[in-house]
């Protein structure tokens, strides 16, 4: 029997545990109320369910605050603090330790989920969907609150009191991104629970209100922005700390966050078909069910240890529980969709293949194949192990890149043509006329790049598609500005359209960054001696070791190599932490540039202080990935700005696509 609570051993632990158990009780009550309210269509019962979310939010907030206080006060009577924190850590590490290990991260997840449920309870309309959307949120809450109140509780009693805690995972205290990336990722994952709740409500009731499309799109977009930022922030973290000069390794857990992104991006495009044309209703519901399930799959992969990954730092009993929840979501989702799909059948006419809808659907097709490919590559070694009984397969970047590059280029092609096309059907000749300048600029850009010595096919195609996209968006914007009498006016009238254009431009910038840094990264290694007679030349740079020193930081030590590269000082570190004395954590020195980064990492340092082995990496346009992502997020944020209602109504007629 699980011993959940002991009043003698820890005051804070008991308080936290009581708060979580109380939240669990309110979650169960809320679930029952929502169900009864939905079946009987009783507004008073639904209101009670709605208010239950407030109690859950308040109690989980209390739980997480208790844990935070315990971490900051070094209260080692609380199990989580004893196992994952220590006195010597700086304050910011103590705060990030809150989500640095399994129990805390599930508590953070539950807290964000209860926060989203709270916001949802304030914004839900009084319609037939309301009890079922609330009920679905309670099901998700039941899973996460249930986990953190029982088998993954951070507050269960400790057997013996420790003088100091065991400290956080050293890999997670090496960089301040620990404060950013996990939280963004959870906001993205948890954010998808709301559209999922709306999707289930639509399936149960068999109806989609006007409100449904607007709200679902909005919540998904918010989650998508967080997810996008989180994935790239993770890549940047990897770039800054792992010392390999890369940002994406097709690691199983990276893939697990990328699959929901692909599905959500597909959804954000196909929901527009439903919004404008009333088509693809059941398809959209399917997509959002899949996207939410894939976030749970991602967490399962992360936490169960069935895949080998750089993130495999947390295991424990929750793996099977996540698998059970995933199976439950898929079975309920697919069952409901199969039962209710006829009620969501489209009645509008099918669009022509060459139309805005056609481009969106072709994009959906590529996004889904992409997601399937990533999922297959991630799980294939596990399948082989299940069949053969041993680990006998690996799937590396070679496999993923073989498909991801053509699929990505295909998506860029559609991304350029989509905004040009009108809804319903395009007139072929008009489309060709509109496409000519785009194609010409694409070919021209690729030729110029060729003259400048670029030979890699993937890079040439990326450049061509980048020019094609940018010229297309530029022409559309110029035409709209001319028609509405000024750039400012059309921007104001159509924030959503220009937000989407901005996001597309951000994606083009990002794609160029990926293409160049992937194809033209240079890498060299050398051992530098202190007081060497002459600097060493590496990748056309003059390298000189100017100093080696040791720094004691209380919670660990840093060996610092000062290197002058072409006269500019670089300080690369090798950190060790008291929790893992033998393990070295490199902290590279990176000089960011608009056209390329210079990246220095120390691989080993002479204990006697005479030499240091270094690795120098030069990659072009890496920073375009980070800037591109910022542009994407700003653009996506702009699409959330709503214009005045009459303008929205007038928009399709007034600002027609290029083919008219």
């Amino acid at each position: 029997m699980l011993n959940l609570i002991s009043f003698q051993s820890s005051a804070l632990g008991s308080l936290g545990q009581i708060a979580l158990l109380g939240a669990l009780a309110f979650t169960l009550a809320g679930l029952a109320l929502a169900f009864v309210g939905g079946v009987r269509a009783d507004a008073r019962v639904v209101e009670a369910a709605r208010r239950a979310t407030w109690a859950v939010f308040a109690l989980v907030t209390l739980g997480i605050l208790v844990l935070l206080v315990a971490l900051l006060k070094d209260d080692f009577t609380v199990r989580y603090v004893a196992e994952h924190s220590m006195r010597a850590s700086p304050t910011w590490i103590k705060i990030t330790s809150l989500w640095g290990a399994l129990e805390g991260s599930i508590l953070l997840w539950a807290w964000l989920l209860s926060g989203f449920a709270f916001i949802l309870s304030l914004t839900l309309r009084r319609d037939a969907l309301r009890p079922w959307a609330l009920g679905t949120m309670f099901v998700s809450l039941l899973f996460f609150v249930g986990l953190c109140a029982t088998i993954a509780s951070p507050f269960t009693p400790v057997s013996g009191l420790l003088a100091d805690g065991r400290g956080p995972n050293p890999a997670l205290q090496n960089h301040w991104m620990m404060a950013v990336h996990p939280v963004l990722l959870y906001l993205g994952f948890v954010g998808l629970s709301v559209p999922f709740a709306y999707a289930v409500a639509a399936l149960v009731t068999g109806r989609l209100s006007d409100h449904w499309v607007v709200v679902t799109r909005r919540w998904t977009l918010v989650a998508w922005v967080f997810l996008t930022a989180a994935i790239v922030a993770g890549g940047w973290w990897s770039y800054e700390t792992l010392g390999w000069g890369g940002y994406w390794a097709w690691d199983p857990v990276e893939n697990a966050s990328f699959i929901p992104w692909l599905l959500t991006t597909a959804f954000l495009h196909s929901i527009q078909i439903q919004e404008k044309r009333g088509l693809m209703r059941s398809w959209n519901v399917w997509l959002i069910v899949l996207a939410y399930s894939s976030t749970v799959l991602g967490t399962f992969l992360n936490r169960s240890g069935i895949v080998q990954s750089v993130h495999a730092f947390a295991g424990g009993p929750v793996g099977p529980v996540f698998l059970g929840f995933l199976a439950f979501l898929l079975i309920v989702g697919i069952g409901l969709a199969a039962w209710r799909a006829p009620a969501l059948r489209d009645e509008a006419e099918v669009p022509a293949p060459i139309s805005r809808e056609g481009a969106f659907l072709a994009g959906n097709w590529l996004f889904l194949v992409f997601a399937f490919m990533v999922l297959l590559g991630t799980l294939f070694p596990t399948f082989v192990e299940a069949v053969q009984g041993r680990r006998d397969a690996s799937v590396g970047p070679a496999f993923y890149n073989a498909f991801a590059i053509p699929l990505g280029l295909g998506l860029m092609l559609l991304m350029g043509v989509g905004p040009l096309l009108p809804w319903r059907r395009a007139d072929g000749q008009g489309l060709m006329r509109a496409l000519v300048p785009l194609l010409a600029s694409g070919v021209g850009a690729a030729l110029i790049a060729f003259v400048f010595g670029i030979r890699a096919t993937g890079v040439l195609l990326t450049i061509a598609l980048a020019a094609y996209n940018i010229v297309g968006l530029g022409l559309l914007t110029a035409r709209a500005a001319r028609q509405s009498g000024g750039l400012g006016r059309t921007l104001q009238a159509q924030p959503r359209r220009y937000g989407a254009y901005t996001a597309h431009i951000g994606l083009v910038v990002l794609a160029l960054g990926l293409a160049f840094s992937g194809a033209y990264r240079q890498d060299a290694q050398a051992t530098l001696n202190l007081r060497a007679a002459a600097p060493i030349t590496l990748l056309h740079e003059q390298l000189e070791l100017t100093g080696l020193r040791q720094q004691d930081r209380g919670f660990g030590t840093s060996a610092i190599a000062s290197v002058s590269i072409d006269g500019k000082p670089f300080e690369a570190r090798l950190n060790t932490y008291v929790q893992a004395p033998g393990t070295l954590f490199p902290a590279p020195a990176v000089r960011y540039g608009a056209l390329g980064d210079t990246y220095l990492v120390v691989t080993s340092i002479d204990p006697k202080g005479q030499w240091a082995s270094i690795r120098l990496i030069e990659s072009p346009l890496v920073s375009w990935i980070w800037w591109g992502t910022l542009i994407i997020c700003l653009g996506a944020g702009l699409t959330l700005v709503s214009p005045a209602r009459p303008v929205l109504r007038a928009a399709p007629a007034g600002l027609a696509p290029a083919t008219d």
Partner: protein
């Protein structure tokens, strides 16, 4: 001839590199469940040991050969690391030895596939990060293509479902889609228009 002997000599030393005894070596030649249990710590510990003695690359390669070496090293997985790193990135001792083995085999004039076979025979298919397109891996490589074809067929069938859609009349175009109106129409049983 001498190069070939060098490889034969190197092979056991690769295996014995971190072996604590004959048993461990035996297990590593045929990766078994114990392989999984070998902790990453071991691999990192060895890299620390390596810090005392930086190794120098054994042979200078022509630029084209060097490119081949790097490409092969990126596609071989460090057999002892839990992180899924390639030997090109890994700092573990075994990766360093495998890297020099790759270079020596290239000097010897072995083809890429011979080099991959060399390593997969010793460490299992586990080390092949670029799964060869044979046997069961054909499932892996063909499934995305099948998904692409299948999805394309479904999409085409959907877009062609009712023949070519009739060009929308001007009157319909002027009326933007209104889901409330649509809902009312369906609830009242009346079709659009």
């Amino acid at each position: 001839m001498t190069g070939r002997m060098g490889i034969e000599v190197l092979a056991p030393s690769l295996l014995a590199g971190e072996g604590r005894g004959g048993g461990a070596v035996q297990q590593r030649t045929r990766p078994s469940r114990t392989l999984r249990l070998l902790p990453a710590a071991l691999c990192l510990l060895l890299s620390f040991a390596h810090a005392a003695a930086p190794t120098t690359p054994p042979a200078t390669l022509a630029p084209a050969q060097e490119q081949r070496a790097v490409a092969i090293q990126r596609n071989l997985r460090c057999p002892l690391c839990d992180t899924g790193e390639s030997i090109a990135e890994s700092r573990s001792d075994i990766s360093i030895k495998m890297r020099s083995s790759v270079r020596e085999q290239i000097v010897d004039g072995r083809s890429d596939s011979e080099i991959y076979t060399f390593f997969s025979q010793r460490y299992g298919n586990f080390v092949l990060l670029d799964p060869p397109k044979t046997g069961r891996n054909l499932l892996l490589w063909s499934a995305p293509l099948l998904a692409l074809a299948g999805g394309g067929a479904v999409l085409w069938a959907f877009l062609r479902r009712k023949g070519t859609a009739a060009p929308a009349s001007a009157a319909q175009d002027a009326e933007p889609y209104d889901s409330y109106l649509d809902q009312v129409r369906r609830d009242t049983g009346g079709g659009p228009g």
